[in-house]
Amino acid sequence: MTETVLETDGLTKRFGKLTAVDDVSLSVADGEFRSVIGPNGAGKTTTFNLITGALSPSEGVVRFKGEDITDVAPHERVGRGLGRSFQITNVFGGLTVRENVRLAAQSVHSDEINPGEALFRDKNGFDEITEQTGTVLEQIGLRERADEHAEALAYGDQRRLELGLVLATDPDLVMLDEPTAGMSSEETQATMDLIDEVLSDRSLMLIEHDIDLVMRVSDRITVLTRGEELASGTPEEIANNEDVRDAYLGGVRE
C-alpha cells in the first residue's frame, strides 16, 4: 500500500498581494491518515479548497490517483473518488435521511442512468442505488431514523449523516475540514470514533488545529505556517521537530 493517492506539486494561491498558500508539495499514500495542522492563517483551509476544487490555484498541480485534476470541476473530482465533509453540517435538511443518502449514492451511479430513466423512472426503482443506500444507513447507524427529515435529527446524528453522505459517494480519499470544531472533548471523541468506524478503510486527509487530536489519530502530519510547508512526518517526528516547536508548539498553544 505505498501507492500515492494524492499529490500536490508547488501548489500556490495568491489573493492580491497575499500569498495564502506558498509552494506546497504534499504526497499522501494510499490508505494513509494524513493531517494538516497549523495556526490560524497558515493556509490550511485554502489548501483544502485547492484540493477539493472550491478554489483554483495560481500555480502548481494537484494529482489524484496519478491524474492531473488541477482543472477538473469540483463535482467531477467527487466522481473520481475525492470526497469531502463540511465543517458546518451541510445536509439536505428538508429531505429525509434516506433521501439524503440515496442522492449521494445516485451520484456515483448517474453514468449508468440513461436520460429517459433520469427524467421518468421512479428514483427508488434502481436496485443498486437502493442497496447501497441501505448499506450506508446501516453503517452510520441511522436505519431506524431513515424516514425522518434530516433537519429533525439531533446534532450528533446530523454529523453521522454528514459522513454518510461522503461515504455513499464511495470515495478513495476523504477530505475532512475540522470535523470537531466547536465540540466538547466527549463529542470530539465520539466523532473521531465514528470516523474511525466508518471511514477507516479509506485514505483520509484531516485539516485540524487541535494538535493533541492530530497526534493521536494520524499516520503522518504536515505542518503549515504562513502558507508554507514547515515539516512533514510521523507524529513522533513532528513532536521532536525543532522548527515545529519553535514556530507552533512553542508559540500560542490553545
Binding site: 469531502r84 451520484s107 427524467l119
Partner: protein, 674 residues
C-alpha cells in the same frame, strides 16, 4: 448645426438621466442595506407627482410648484417609512423573493389607489412660467426646465452623497450594507435605520416623479414605465452602490435618448459604404445590462463579491402530515372530474363567459406549473419568465399564419422554440446566482419585449392577428371556429373544445412534472434547492442540472403561451399581453399564492387568482387594490401558500390545545417532497 443638435440631445439625455439617478439612488441603497428589491419604488415615484398635482392646484403654478417639491417628497417619505414599518420589516431574513412579492402587491395597491383618487386621465403638472421658457445658450436651444432638472437633481445627489459619506448616520448605513451582523454586534440598532433609508429613498423617488411630471406629464402608467429602466441602472452600476447609481443613471438616460434621436440615421460615409446607427432603440440598455452582468456580475461599481446567500430560504408549501399521499391523489382525481364536468354546469347556467375564464385559468395553471419547476424545485427565481410565455404565443401565432394550422404542430413548435431559447438564456444566466439571476432574466425578457416592437414579422406594437387553429393533423380535423354542435338543444362550440384540450394538456403537464420530480433528475433539483454546495460535493454538476430544469420549464411555459394563441378568445397576440414584465411578476405571485414546490399549488393559485379577479372586478373597479392587499397579507401570514392552510389551521388548533407557546411560521412543519 449638427453639433448643436447633438448637444441638445445630450442635454435631454442628461435630464432623463438625472431622474434615473434620483430613482436608482434610493433603490440601490435600499437593496444594499436591506436586501430588498423594491418594485413599488416606481409607484412611490408616481405618488410624488400626483401629490404635487393636488398641492399645486390651490396655490397655482408659481408658488405651488415650490411648495409641492418640498411637501410632496416629505409626504411620500412618510408613506415609505410606514410601508417599511408595517410590511417590509416582518420579512427581513427571508429570501429576497418575498420582498418581490410584497412590493409587487404594493404596486397593485398604490397604483389602484392613485386611480381611485386622481382618476385615470393624463394630467399636466403646472410649473412656474419662467421655468418652462425655452432658452438658447451657444446655439443650443432647450427649455430652462432642463437646466433646472439637471442642477436640482445634481444638488440632491450631492446632498445624498454627503449624508452617506460624511455623517454618522451615513457611516452606519454604509457599514450596514457591508456587514449587517457586525453593525449589530457593535451595539447599533441597525433596524432603526432601515425605516430612515426606506423613507429617504421614497422621498428621492417622489422628487424624481415631480420633476419628470413637470417635464412630460402625469399618468397612471408612469411608475410602471420607469421602474424597469431604474432596475437596469441599479444593476449596471452595481447593487448597493451609490456611485454606480449616479453613473448608471446618467449612462442609461443618455444612451436611451441618443438612440431614440439617432436610430437609423447615417453616421458616416466612406465612399460607397455608409455607416448607419443600428435601429436598436429600446434594446441598447438591456444589451448593455446583459453584457455587464456577464462580464462583471456585481456591476460596474459593485463591490460585494458574494451576496448574502443562504440567509433566507424559499418557503415551499404542502400538506405534509395533514393529508396522506393517497388522499391527495384522490382529491386531485376529484378535482379533475369536477373540472371535466364544469362545462355542463356552465351550460345550464347559460353563460359561456365562465368557460372563457376557466380557459384562462388553465393556461396560467400550466404557466405557473412551469415556473414551479425552476423556482420551487431548483431554487432559481427568474424575473423574466414571461419571455417564454410570450415567445410561445408568438411562435404559435406565426406557425399558424405561415406554416401549419394543426394544433399539434403549433404547440410542438412553441415548446421547441422556447426550449431552445431557455437553453440559450439559461446557459448565459445560470452562471450568476440569486438576485443577479433574477435581474439578468428580466433583462432578456425586456430585450425580447422591445424586440417584438421592432420587427415586421411580429407585427410591431399591433401584434399578430388573423391566425386560426385547426384541431387535427394534415387534412383530418376541423378548424376551431367551425366547430359547432348541439347537444340537448344547447349550442356547443369552440370554447368547449378548447376547454377540454387545455384541461387535458394541464393534467398531462402536471403528471409529467410529478413523474419528473420523483425520478433521479427531479430528486437532484430538490437537493440543489436544499443545499447547492452540498449537491456539488456529492458529485452533481449543479449548473447543468439547473440549465436542464430551465429548459424543461421554458418549454412548458412556451406550451402555455402556445395555448394562449390557440385559444378561441385570443384574437390578437400583442407585446403587452404576453411579454410585459408585469406577467413575470404575476406568475411568481400566483405560484407563491398557491404554494411553491408542490406542483399542484401554483395551479390552484392560478384558479384562485383569476377567480378572485373575475369575482371582484364584477363588483368594483378597485379589484387590484383588494387583490394586492390580499397578496400582502399572504406574504406576511401564509408564506407557504394556500396549500399550507390546512396544516396551518391544524397547527393553530394544536397550539391552542397544548398552549405550547407561539407558532413559528417559518419553521418548516410542512414539506413538499412527496
Amino acid at each position: 448645426m449638427v453639433a448643436a443638435d447633438f448637444i441638445e440631445q445630450l442635454l435631454n439625455g442628461l435630464t432623463l438621466g438625472m431622474v434615473y439617478v434620483l430613482l436608482a439612488a434610493g433603490l440601490s441603497v435600499i437593496f444594499g442595506v436591506m436586501d430588498v428589491i423594491n418594485f413599488s419604488h416606481g409607484e412611490l415615484f408616481a405618488l410624488g407627482a400626483y401629490f404635487s398635482l393636488s398641492i399645486i392646484a390651490p396655490f397655482g403654478a408659481g408658488a405651488g410648484f415650490w411648495i409641492a417639491i418640498v411637501v410632496a417628497p416629505v409626504a411620500v417619505g412618510l408613506i415609505g417609512a410606514a410601508i417599511e414599518r408595517t410590511t417590509v420589516r416582518p420579512l427581513y431574513g427571508r429570501d429576497p423573493l418575498y420582498h418581490i412579492l410584497l412590493t409587487f402587491g404594493l404596486v397593485l395597491v398604490i397604483n389602484d389607489g392613485i386611480r381611485l383618487i386622481w382618476g385615470t386621465q393624463q394630467r399636466q403638472l403646472a410649473v412656474p412660467e419662467y421655468l418652462s421658457q425655452p432658452v438658447s445658450i451657444l446655439g443650443v436651444q432647450v427649455s430652462v426646465y432642463n437646466y433646472f432638472m439637471i442642477v436640482f437633481a445634481a444638488l440632491l445627489a450631492v446632498v445624498t452623497w454627503y449624508l452617506l459619506n460624511r455623517t454618522k448616520y451615513g457611516m452606519i448605513i454604509r457599514a450596514g450594507s457591508q456587514d449587517r451582523e457586525m453593525v449589530r454586534n457593535v451595539g447599533i440598532d441597525i433596524d432603526q435605520y432601515y425605516t430612515l433609508v426606506f423613507g429617504v429613498g421614497a422621498a428621492l423617488a417622489a422628487v424624481a416623479g415631480i420633476v419628470l411630471g413637470g417635464y412630460q406629464n402625469v399618468n397612471t402608467g408612469m411608475g410602471n414605465s420607469v421602474i424597469i429602466p431604474a432596475f437596469v441602472v441599479v444593476v449596471l452600476g452595481g447593487l448597493g452602490s451609490f456611485r454606480g447609481a449616479v453613473f448608471g443613471g446618467l449612462l442609461v438616460g443618455v444612451v436611451q435618448t441618443l438612440m431614440r434621436a439617432y436610430s437609423g440615421s447615417v453616421l458616416a460615409t466612406f465612399g460607397d459604404t455608409t455607416l448607419t446607427v443600428p435601429n436598436l432603440e429600446g434594446l441598447t440598455v438591456y444589451l448593455l445590462m446583459i453584457a455587464v452582468l456577464l462580464v462583471k456580475p456585481q456591476g460596474l461599481f459593485g463591490t460585494r463579491g458574494e451576496e448574502s446567500d443562504g440567509e433566507g430560504e424559499i418557503l415551499v408549501g404542502g400538506y405534509g402530515g395533514i393529508l396522506a399521499d393517497s388522499t391527495r391523489v384522490r382529491l386531485g382525481g376529484i378535482a379533475v372530474v369536477a373540472l371535466a364536468l364544469a362545462p355542463i354546469a356552465i351550460l345550464f347556467m347559460g353563460d359561456q363567459y365562465y368557460l372563457v375564464v376557466l380557459n384562462e385559468i388553465l393556461i396560467w395553471a400550466i404557466f405557473a406549473l412551469s415556473l414551479d419547476i425552476v423556482m420551487g424545485y431548483a431554487g432559481l427565481v427568474p424575473l423574466g419568465h414571461t419571455m417564454f410565455y410570450g415567445v410561445g404565443a408568438y411562435t404559435a401565432a406565426l406557425v399558424m399564419l405561415h406554416y401549419s394550422q394543426s394544433v399539434f404542430v403549433v404547440l410542438l413548435g412553441a415548446i421547441l422554440i422556447c426550449a431552445v431559447l431557455a437553453w440559450v438564456v439559461g446557459s448565459l444566466s445560470i452562471r450568476v446566482s440569486g438576485v443577479y439571476f433574477a435581474m439578468i432574466t428580466l433583462a432578456f425578457a425586456e430585450l425580447l419585449y422591445s424586440a417584438v416592437f421592432k420587427f415586421e414579422f411580429t407585427g410591431g406594437s399591433d401584434g399578430l392577428l388573423g391566425f386560426e387553429a385547426f384541431i387535427g393533423l394534415g387534412t383530418v380535423g376541423e378548424s376551431l371556429s367551425n366547430i359547432e354542435f348541439g347537444l340537448l338543444g344547447y349550442e356547443l362550440g369552440q370554447q368547449f373544445v378548447f376547454y377540454y384540450l387545455a384541461l387535458l394538456i394541464a393534467v398531462l403537464s402536471l403528471l409529467f412534472a410529478r413523474r419528473m420530480m420523483n425520478a433521479p433528475f427531479g430528486s437532484v433539483l430538490q437537493s440543489i434547492r436544499e443545499s447547492e454546495e452540498r449537491a456539488e460535493f456529492i458529485g452533481y454538476d449543479v449548473n447543468r442540472y439547473k440549465r436542464r430544469a430551465f429548459v424543461v420549464s421554458g418549454g412548458m411555459a412556451g406550451l402555455a403561451g402556445g395555448l394562449l394563441a390557440v385559444s378561441p378568445s385570443t384574437v390578437i397576440i400583442s407585446p403587452d399581453q404576453t411579454l410585459n414584465w408585469i406577467h413575470s411578476g404575476e406568475v411568481i405571485v400566483i405560484a407563491l399564492f398557491g404554494g411553491m414546490g408542490t406542483l399542484y399549488g401554483p395551479m390552484i393559485g392560478s384558479g384562485v387568482f383569476f377567480g378572485a379577479e373575475e369575482f371582484l372586478s364584477s363588483y368594483t373597479d378597485q379589484w387590484r387594490l383588494i387583490i394586492g392587499t390580499m397578496f400582502i397579507l399572504f406574504v406576511l401570514f401564509v408564506p407557504r401558500g394556500i396549500v399550507s392552510i390546512p396544516s396551518l389551521i391544524a397547527q393553530r388548533l394544536e397550539t391552542a390545545n397544548n398552549a405550547d407557546g407561539p407558532v413559528d411560521m417559518d419553521e418548516p412543519e410542512v414539506r413538499s417532497d412527496d
